[in-house]
Amino acid sequence: MQSRWDIGEPEKPTINIETEQLKSELLTLNMGPQHPATHGVLRIEIWTDSEIVAHAIPHLGYLHRCMEKHSENLDFRGVIPFVDRLDYLASMNMEWTYVAAVEKMLGTEVPRRGELIRIMTAELQRIASHLMAFGTYALDLGAFSPFLYAFEEREKILRLFEEVSGARLLYNYFWIGGVWNDWTDDQLQRVSAFCDNMEEEAKKYHELVSMNKIFVQRTANVGVFSKEDCFTYGASGPVLRGSGVKWDLRKVAPYSLYSEFDFDVPVGTGEVGVVGDCWNRYYVRMREVTQSIKIIRQVLEKLEPGQVMGKVPKVIKLPKGEVYLRHECPRGELAFHLVSEGDAKQPFRLKVKSPCFTHISMLPHVAPGQMIADFVATVGSIDIVLGEVDR
């Protein structure tokens, strides 16, 4: 009787040594959603040909919290904590954009001190956000210690924010009509001291990372976005400026009191690599930190005692109409499209135009032909926050 395991002589596999007859296909690789280099829960499906990326498809939605729909059931003040959670590294800027949109429809006047404090807070937040971008970008490329140096400085900003607003990350500090609390003189002095210290620290960062040969080799000439690409996809912020376009809403269409301030708009110059590569995008961010310090110093000179909250009705009801308002946030242009049905306590529709979403859509364009390690450098250089992409 034949055993059930007896299958007879095994067939000899025929091996083709000639390369042309070997089967070759692209290997599908999942980067994320928990990859340390993807900044949040972004999953990128990469098709690789050995070490070269052939296609990259970003998959979104892992951090979707239904914020836009949810805000239709909240009163206008109640939306602010949810707006905080869009870009959790630059909550102050997010709040400011939303609050400014509501104020524009409501016709509220913000007192001068309130506006100046808003500018100072937003610029401090920009520094904090760029420090985070600097630290995590170095971390992506395998350098751990810059991350810690960046966090040491960022911690000082967060401590100031905690003292003035009560929270370290999700502040709820910008209110409709002004800001929640006023800064004391002691805190303003610490801001001034921080600015002095930060300039020294920035020099250290440049020595440590920006001009480092290994860093330059990893980032220069890698992931080049041309001007045309940026215009096609609608890029903004450091990504657009890194490609050599001098476009900053604070300068081009000054909102709030930005027209009173003297500052430059850094653009990618291509002193290392070519304009529009990872290094230039990174370097634009680092030079923006210096410009933010310049703005903060001017705010500190201009500050005079006064009110920080304007007059706002107790129950906010917006007239019928809609407003589209955009601000320059650390990652690009953030905009809110707010629609009100008239005499309603809740927004009828709140659409968020997020800069990171447009930047993520540029990845499939730039990925083909890159090495995997270069692709990691490219994803890091656009500095995405997934809370803002998925909402």
């Binding site: 939306v79 929270a167 999700l170 090495m371």
Partner: protein, 169 residues
């Protein structure tokens, strides 16, 4: 790691690149090495050393129920609906008490529960409170084994017992 790195390096470029690599790396290493003795550590060793929280820090909510007038403004302001309030009319002829800032308590509070697991610590409820009885305390160590244990009924005697621990000094 650029693609054309190997193609376009002449003899001179190769060695100047090598020198640049060594000098910039040594510079960076020197900055890191200086931290061994010249810079004080900044990290806080948490369980042993505790940071003093700023006055406005928003931690666990606490309601001083003796001052609560059951106006439900906090529950309406809450964006995540984590405050549950129930109240009933005072029995006729009973004495009307007053809060510490002089408002009359016309309703009898029967339930004041906050789901701390749901709370987003935005602070909107504390700003609308007319008697300032609902405040953010400075207590941040309140982990629990079950999520139900995060619901605090502020009328319960055991919650009153830890009142002294968490009320701002």
């Amino acid at each position: 790691m650029s693609a054309n790195f190997h193609e376009t390096s002449s003899f001179r470029e190769y060695f100047s690149g090598l020198l640049n690599g060594i000098t910039t790396t040594v510079k960076g290493m020197w900055i890191t090495f200086r931290y061994v003795w010249a810079v004080k550590p900044v990290s806080i060793e948490y369980p042993e050393v505790r940071e003093v929280l700023p006055e406005r820090a928003r931690m666990r909510l606490f309601n001083d129920v003796q001052n609560c007038i059951s106006c439900t403004q906090c529950a309406m302001a809450c964006p995540v609906d984590c405050i549950y309030i129930a109240s009933e009319k005072l029995p006729e002829g009973s004495e009307i008490k007053k809060t510490s800032n002089g408002q009359a308590i016309r309703l009898k509070l029967t339930q004041f529960t906050i789901d701390t697991a749901l709370c987003c610590y935005c602070g909107l409820c504390t700003t609308v409170c007319p008697t300032e009885c609902l405040t953010h305390s400075h207590d941040y160590e309140f982990s629990q084994y079950t999520i139900d244990a995060m619901k605090y009924d502020y009328l319960a005697p055991d919650v009153r017992a830890w009142r002294d621990r968490i009320v701002k000094a």
